[in-house]
Symmetry: C2
């Protein structure tokens, strides 16, 4: 009878119960398995309320009993934990050369990860994404219907029409209804995110307990990009163009025609710019990786090339810290993630800024983007399941009357 009663109540799922459920799930997600009495102490809710909430959560399948807690003084407690298999979240990174996927369960544990070589044809992306999804679900023995949500990280910006703009490394991709096709292929709720933003979130997530509220991630590879986290939230900007730093007036004349086309900063410290610099100094290389190899071998042109790149990147760090004052700046991407470069950037910093600033190399490397995509999926899954977004936190300012 008690059970039936609770079931009836929760058809409408009123605000107060939502808040209680949310508190309990938050504690379980952050602290792991505990007893009901312990949850009662931590959340401040009464034992009675906790028991009701747990009843609901177990019925819905989000939480399960997981043995007993004994050993201390007093009665043995029933331990509850999140049923990690209750829901899964997918992160995909659709890069120009590699497709990466990470599957996490509801507790935030990575249960599968895999990568595929891109087959070069942009049109194959939806099919390859579907394949990757299936591989990951199979590897984790996760039933497809438990996949709640996927986040797809791509270069460029997903337009409202579902087309991918500003992604020159994925030729022909702008013609497709990529969003629609991916939604169909993945057969779940799909979100899209810029790859640099996702990488920023990935690095932030990976830093875990030490994560700072304000965080900047700078990617240097074929292009340059910036991802910003403010209070743990991605800063996307009014037209989703925050962090599009290719046109920053650094490293070249911003009024030159080429700067207006390709961007002064990107022309200067993007892969092409670095190669050109190396060539001007008398070196010859097909890839930036080769330049780093020469650097290791003691080649002075390579040394000059990388140091000049670091000098301009230091100005970029100065720019970012001046504007948004992050706690630290993390570099990633094929080029930006090289410790030889980051070390030199850090060396340049005192010459342009008195205030010390933490400049670090990405700790996830090429996996940053896919991890961030998974984090986005996970966060969205949690919030859609357990959050109370309809309860607004702060009042806005009233209209000004004068």
């Amino acid at each position: 009878m008690h059970v039936a009663e609770v079931n009836q109540r929760l058809v409408a799922s009123p605000v107060l119960r939502q808040l209680s459920v949310r508190s309990v799930m938050e504690r379980l997600l952050l602290d792991g398995a505990t007893s009901r009495a312990s949850l009662s102490r931590v959340t401040g809710l009464s034992k009675q309320t906790i028991s009701e909430v747990m009843l609901v959560l177990t019925e819905r399948g989000w939480v399960k009993e997981s043995g007993m807690i004994s050993g201390g003084v007093g009665r043995t407690a029933v331990r509850y934990e999140i049923d990690a298999t209750a829901g899964f979240a997918l992160g995909l990174d659709l890069g120009a050369s590699t497709l990466r996927g990470v599957l996490v369960d509801i507790s935030g544990t990575i249960v599968a990860q895999h990568e595929l070589a891109a087959d070069g044809q942009g049109g194959q992306l939806p099919a390859q994404a579907k394949l990757l999804k299936q591989i990951l679900l199979d590897a984790a023995k996760a039933p497809a219907e438990r996949l709640q949500i996927a986040t797809v990280a791509t270069p460029g910006v997903m337009s409202p029409q579902g087309r991918l703009d500003l992604a020159p490394n994925l030729p022909g991709i702008g013609e497709l209804d990529l969003a629609g096709q991916l939604r169909a292929s993945l057969d779940c709720q799909v979100m899209f995110e810029n790859d640099v933003n996702a990488a920023a979130l990935g690095e932030y997530w990976e830093a875990g307990e030490n994560a700072d509220n304000h965080f900047a991630f700078i990617s240097i590879g074929t292009g340059v990009g910036l991802g910003i986290l403010v209070d743990g939230q991605l800063l996307r900007g009014s037209s989703l163009a925050a962090g599009e730093i290719g046109y920053l007036p650094l490293g070249g004349d911003p009024f030159a025609p080429q700067s207006l086309e390709q961007g002064a900063l990107e022309s200067s410290i993007g892969a092409t710019g670095i190669l050109q610099r190396f060539a001007r100094l008398g070196g010859s290389a097909q890839t930036v990786r080769e330049i780093f190899d020469r650097l290791e071998a003691g080649d002075s042109a390579a040394e000059q090339t990388i140091d000049e790149t670091a000098r301009i990147a230091a100005l970029l760090v100065l720019t970012v810290t001046s504007v948004i004052d992050p706690d630290r700046v993390v570099f990633g991407g094929n080029i930006g993630g090289r410790s030889e470069l980051v070390r030199r950037i850090a060396d340049w910093m005192p010459k342009v800024q008195k205030r010390p600033i933490r400049v670090e190399a990405s700790s996830l490397g090429p996996r940053a983007t896919v991890m961030g995509a998974a984090a986005m999926s996970l966060g969205q899954m949690h919030n859609s399941l357990f959050s109370t977004l309809e309860v607004p936190g702060r009042l806005g300012l009233p209209t000004l009357r004068q």
Copy 2:
């Protein structure tokens, strides 16, 4: 009996009732006076819940009856409105030459504004602030105990020790326990804010309904500064240094010793930099205002000076839009607020950035800072009185487990 019952209930002021009170106050703040039945329809709460909430609010003095609503079909309704005299919020702008004050009532209406000439001695600030407060309260016939909160906007940054750092225009101010003295003088809750941040908030508030979520305010005067609003909230940065753009590598060699001391951008488009530029071009002027006067008179050195300043300011706009992508950029300050300058900045923009960006002059002028300070006070007063900040909106990410 009913009344007594309600009183008892609200001693603890539980979450659910807080939410109801909040909804009602929000509607009253945004929509003005209405009847209870109308509030019931708008908020979705039942009529008698609204009646109970209104009973509480009238007892507490936040809301009062204000006549009847008749004329339509059906019974005449009792109209309720916020009792604007229930609480007042103060905004102060302590500038180097002028002290400005604005007093707003709880509904967001400006009830008094005044300004005083600073007497030059930094040590007199607390006494002058007290005087200003009293003048404003008297002008509005507001009893002192109804003053809930004040926000003091100052140049530089208020250190945790209550001392004002980085404010060279207020000589000797760094020695005082300014925060403590102001708290004592003003005799209410006092918040502190950087003047540029406050001005950004002021402009944002003044834009009212058309306010955009992402907004950047650039101040050019003796120094240069930037205030950023993201989702209507000020972006302050990890060490409260967001928007300290004086050191941006624009308009001068960032590696020059002077740039490390005074900042490349500030040396270039701060007042001193502009005067030096004018002098290099053969002109002579004591103040930037004179240069603008010559500009109007057709002086070509003045024209060149201002245009070069605009050119560098355009690079600053490019920098800000590249990083945070605001919907528009507003210029203010003694120099930045001049339309002759802003027009030239806007003219330079297409030469460095294809994407159009709204560049505008401040509409509040020198009052932007004090208005922003008042807005901060008002917002804080509303949130402390009626908000439910203990109810968190979004779940954070769980710890990464791999």
